[in-house]
Amino acid sequence: MSREKELKALQAALAAEHAAVYGYGVVGGQIRAGRRTEARAAYDAHRARRDALTREVRDLGGTPVAAAAGYALPFPVPDSAAAVRLATELEDRVAGVYSDLVRATGGERRRMAAGALREAAVRAVRWSGESVAFPGLAERAATAPASPAPTV
């Protein structure tokens, strides 16, 4: 694995965590009270991952990518059901970058990436209630019979 590839994958993961932190801000604003604690915990988890990745990028001599000024949501989020759907999407997206980071790194970074992928997959099923056969592997998602239903 080359350092350049590793750095690219770390930056991609960092960019996804920036987006997740932003996205969970939206989720937190719309989610029903009963799931607010869960949303808050996820928000905190993604902030912690973001900060850890920022350090990793610096350790490799890179300049950490910054958060975007704003993000376009994949769909309107007017209510709690949409917020749950968004949270699921955010976790799926994050899982994808961590699976790539697993491939691009080794040792402790790879272990960290695998752990982050596992956390994202568990949070995704907490939100959606639906399992996915290969979390984070977009190329295998198309044939997944148990992909999350579009409505939650």
Binding site: A114, G115, R118
Partner: protein
């Protein structure tokens, strides 16, 4: 709660999609393909051994699902989708799974005896999923990138299964 206030979404060139997460997706394009399993480190035999072990363990897990389903038919429907995913995991590692194999060696071993209480049985199955996920996260440290990525994904699926088997019952 101290969520940041939702920012107004600019429509200019800085606009990014949360999902596409433009920067990340674009950056990754150059990362896939490229190195073969062998050139990425790890001899073919090491890779094959790791893959075969992963397949065997998934097949063994299918056997545990079958044993639980045989002992507690009421959960068959609930476990069906998860079992199907474990079958896909086995196949992804190159393994094959028979129709239903409650008599498989794995499920016939004393350690795989199914608890008479349904909830206990599911808890044990969840523990088996969790333990296997843990082993895979260790195993993936010693194999080349592509197999590591698959192992990580399957481990993540296993952890998600464990959640659905226990707390996910609602």
């Amino acid at each position: 709660m101290s969520y940041p206030p939702p920012l107004r979404t600019p429509s200019g060139p800085r606009r990014r999609s949360v999902l596409a997460s433009a920067a990340g997706a674009a950056l990754l394009v150059g990362c896939s393909g490229g190195e073969s399993e062998e050139s990425a480190g790890g001899s073919p035999s090491v890779v094959e051994k790791a893959r075969a072990l992963a397949a065997r363990e998934s097949v063994g897990l299918v056997g545990r699902y079958d044993a639980v389903i045989a002992a507690h038919p009421a959960v068959a429907e609930r476990l069906g989708a998860l079992r199907a995913e474990v079958v896909r995991h086995a196949e992804a590692f190159g393994g094959t799974v028979g129709k239903a194999s409650p008599a498989a060696p794995e499920s016939a071993s004393p350690s795989a005896a199914v608890a008479p209480d349904e909830k206990d049985a599911l808890t044990e199955l969840a523990a088996a999923e969790r333990a296997l996920a843990e082993r895979r996260i260790t195993a993936l440290l010693d194999v080349p990138g592509e197999l590591a990525r698959l192992l990580a994904s399957v481990a993540a699926a296993g952890a998600a299964h464990a959640y659905l088997l226990t707390e996910g019952a609602r």
